[in-house]
């Protein structure tokens, strides 16, 4: 079976390389038979990678400890879901998983475009297969998941206990889908550059793919934050670690692209900028993969020095070289046909939103690679931590939040005084009133005050959009209010789905601001019967319990919780000790409400003295962060769901394009 996996990977690599060459030859020499053959090869590569993944999955599920990978990441007591998840628990497996997702997407893209985009598709095939070949090359020559041990291990080393958490079952696949999803718009961008067909078609064809990638990037980042919150036990969810930044940066540039592309669709502007953003997003996904595998940036996450770093650098540099060459070559075609008329216009608002998003991405990038740069320049490593990222990104983030309210409602071209008054008088009023009220109530955390005021401002602009739209439908169509609202959203999914996403963004901002500005933290070493008071909570340490099974042993402190004097339940913060890896892990106890989270950590317990150290966090409004994430995801689903009008627009653009193609061939 293992040989089958190895063989599949090798054949897949050969097939991928063949597909690249055949597709390019077919396009350049205008021999469609070769392009067709490349497409068939791409299907075959997908099938072969799938076989390899199934072989590895089988080995993990059947606990075949003769394989080094299985022996390193699974054990006889590891439960089935985690054995399946172990496919992406280690280096080689995660690269195979990456290749599997990429080739699956390639197949979907080819099926979708069997009858369309005949000019673009060969280059799309070539780009996707070139990326696949890179990953397959790593798997075949550098880090094989099918390495056999000289002597089969009797028992596996087990999956890292910190990864044995249900969020870890879905967080990596979500993030990978987001990362890899960025390859599809990238491939179409390359195809558009190569063919010079830089009109609407490639953008309309990939719009849903970009949203798909963004959907999963959002979800992946949120799930990762949630995992950190529950599993790492330091009371927070985001530490600006290089690995987190690696996932955050492509999200930022992808978000920028999704916004600026609307300007291109509507106004035929910013073509160059959009192109740069698509290419940048893809490069950031590769850079992120590189960061997590090369050990070049030291992170709290310890990375195995795997020796893959130079290959990623080489790949990234060649991608940048090809892309830069194409962009420079096609520069004349990337000129926009319109100019921005006024500062007070939607075009300008979107441009500023883009600059802010890219600015945040740049600051994050700079902070992440600063140790490397300072070492190269000054010979000494200088590092920046969370204070740097918070200090830089908080003001930029607040400016972005403000633009969230402005961008969608300000008029195109040039906003009149009437438009500004109509759209912003009320929201600005309630925003300022909120700020004044919070300030008067004695809060002096300026960031939080500004954030909450802006949140109210943005929500007010969005509410007014829904309200006015519904009222207009009621008046025009005579529909009752709920029906009018449903139709309003259903018939303008991009617009109103976008507003839903913005509501989610506001919730995320509120959750982050409140939980970082007003968090309470207390650490106490206590005996049974002792009482700890934190904020409104009274915590009584009642007992400690010990349990054990084959996989881990654990101790649980029994803590009675009262809020404002009234009992609200019992919490059990837990410390586990995983036997295979001889490692303790913290299992946080949470009491989660919309108002705040009570977050208990069992820090340590000493048998001899009976002393238990407990860390208590009270995180206000933190739940709104997670709810906001869900709302963003829901909004994306609304935006993504196809509408007839959009299908017509794509068909029309394609028809124009095909006529051009026929004319060119004639």
């Amino acid at each position: 079976m293992v040989d089958l996996g190895l063989l599949s990977l090798r054949l897949a690599l050969i097939g991928g390389l063949y597909a690249v060459l055949a597709a390019i030859y077919g396009a350049v020499a205008r021999r469609p038979a070769y392009a067709r053959s490349a497409r068939q090869a791409a299907y075959a590569v997908h099938a072969l990678v799938a076989v390899a993944a199934l072989v590895l999955w089988r080995a993990l599920v059947t606990r075949d400890f003769s394989l080094e990978y299985v022996a390193s990441y699974a054990s006889s007591t590891l439960s089935l879901p985690y054995r399946i998840a172990a496919l992406w628990g280690g280096q080689a497996g995660s690269l195979l998983f990456w290749a599997l997702i990429l080739t699956t997407m390639s197949t979907v893209v080819h099926l979708q475009n069997r009858e369309r985009n005949a000019a673009l598709m060969p280059y799309v095939t070539a780009t996707l297969m070139a990326i696949a070949a890179f990953f397959l090359g790593l798997l075949v020559f550098m880090t094989s998941p099918f390495e056999r041990l000289p002597v089969p291990a009797a028992e596996g080393a087990d999956l890292n206990p910190l990864l044995q958490n249900y969020w870890m079952l879905i967080h990596p696949p979500a993030l990978y889908l987001g990362y890899v999803g960025c390859s599809v718009p990238f491939a179409f961008a390359i195809a558009a550059l190569a063919t010079g067909r830089l009109g609407d078609v490639w953008i309309r064809t990939t719009r849903r793919w970009t949203l798909f990638a963004w959907f999963f990037l959002t979800l992946g980042n949120m799930l990762g934050a949630r995992w950190a919150y529950e599993e790492l036990g330091w009371g927070g969810y985001w530490a600006w670690d290089p690995v987190e930044n690696a996932a955050f940066m492509p999200w930022l540039s992808c978000t920028a692209f999704l916004h600026s592309v609307m300007i291109q669709e509507k106004k035929n502007m910013l073509k160059m900028w959009n192109m740069v953003l698509v290419l940048l997003t893809f490069c950031l996904t590769i850079f992120g993969t590189f960061l997590t595998r090369s050990g070049v940036v030291s992170s709290v996450h310890s990375f195995t020095q795997s020796g893959l770093g130079p290959f990623f650098v080489a790949f990234l540099l060649s991608v940048i070289a090809v892309v830069a060459g194409l962009v420079v070559w096609r520069r004349p075609l990337l000129r926009g046909e319109n100019e921005i008329d006024s500062f007070l216009s939607r075009e300008a608002a979107f441009l500023f939103n883009n600059l802010l998003l890219v600015g945040i991405a740049f600051a994050t990038f700079w902070g992440t690679v600063f140790p490397v740069i300072s070492e190269a320049v000054r010979g000494i490593k200088i590092t920046v931590g969370p204070p740097f990222f918070n200090k830089v990104n908080a003001p930029l983030g607040l400016a972005l939040l403000f633009m969230t309210g402005v961008g969608p409602v300000i008029a195109w071209r040039r906003a009149s005084a009437r438009n500004l008054r109509r759209s912003f008088a009320v929201p600005l009023g309630v925003g300022f009133a909120t700020g004044a009220a919070i300030f008067a109530s004695g809060w002096r955390n300026y960031y939080a005050v500004v954030c909450f005021s802006l949140a109210v401002f943005v929500l007010a602009t969005i509410f007014m959009e829904f309200y006015r739209g519904t009222r207009a439908r009621q008046a025009l169509m005579g529909e009752p209010a709920p029906r009018a609202l449903a139709n309003l959203v259903g018939k303008n999914r991009r617009r109103y789905g976008g507003y839903v996403i913005h509501v989610g963004v506001v919730m995320v901002f509120v959750g982050v601001a409140a939980s970082s500005a007003f968090r309470l933290e207390e650490q106490e070493t206590i005996r049974k019967g002792d009482v700890v008071q934190v904020g409104a909570f009274t915590l009584t340490y009642q007992d400690i319990h010990f349990t054990e099974d084959a996989h881990y042993s654990s101790m649980l402190a029994e803590i009675a919780v009262a809020k404002n004097g009234a009992p609200v339940g019992t919490l059990f913060p837990e410390k586990r000790f995983y036997k295979k890896q001889q490692q303790p892990t913290t299992e946080v106890a949470l009491r989660s409400t919309l108002a705040e989270d009570l977050y208990l950590v069992l820090g340590s317990y000493d048998d001899a003295t009976g002393l238990m150290t407990m860390i208590v966090f009270v995180n206000p409004l933190v739940n709104w962060l997670w709810i906001g994430g869900l709302v963003m995801v829901l909004g994306t689903v609304i935006v993504m769901s196809p509408t007839a009008a959009e299908q017509r627009a794509l068909a029309a653009a394609l028809a124009v394009e095909e006529r051009g193609l026929e004319a060119a061939l004639r």
Binding site: Y73, G89, G90, A157, D158, N160, L162, L163, P172, A228, E231, L232, G233, T292, R293, S298, S299, V300, H301, S302, F303, S306, E339, S342, F343, A348, L351, F352, L355, L356, G359, F362, A363, W366, G367, F370, P371, I380, K381, I382, T383, G385, P387, F388, K391, V392, P395, L396, Q523, T525, Q581, Q583, T585, T586, V601, G603, S604, D606, T609, L611
Partner: protein, 138 residues
């Protein structure tokens, strides 16, 4: 053309703001990041400074008082031939153990002791298990 110029000014303001924030952010929050070997060879230079130091927990050096949460250990180089004494107060991180790689942040006093404000263990990466397996093999 005039319009375009106005825009370039507007965009430049944002770019300048980002640059300014990054510049002051780095000036105010950056710390030297040394390996234990670098610290040992530059002792005099860096004494009294805020530092972030990566090293390994020395064998048989950990003393931990669960009642006061006082921890002392030797932050050693990888051969465990030399190191500095580190004092820390707080709960032990899950992955903390002798022979593990850790990062401490704090001040290196002139008397050669290190007061750690934070103690980070090399951890929650999925690739960590591989390193763990290698250590076990040795």
């Amino acid at each position: 053309m005039d319009r375009n110029r106005r825009f370039i000014v507007g965009a430049s303001i944002i770019v300048a703001a980002v640059a300014y924030l990054v510049y002051t952010g780095i000036r105010e929050t950056s710390v030297y990041y040394l390996t234990i070997d670098e610290l040992l060879s530059r002792r005099a230079e860096v004494a009294g400074e805020g530092l972030r130091v990566a090293g390994r927990v020395g064998a048989k050096s950990v003393q931990w008082n669960p009642a006061t949460l006082d921890l002392t250990f030797r932050l050693a180089n990888f051969e465990d031939s030399d190191g500095v004494a580190v004092a820390y107060n707080g709960v032990l991180p899950d992955m903390f153990a002798e022979g593990r790689d850790v990062i401490v942040e704090g001040t290196y006093a002139r008397d050669g002791s290190f007061h750690a404000r934070t103690l980070l263990t090399s951890c929650p990466s999925k690739y960590e298990a591989e390193a763990g397996a290698e250590v076990a093999k040795e």
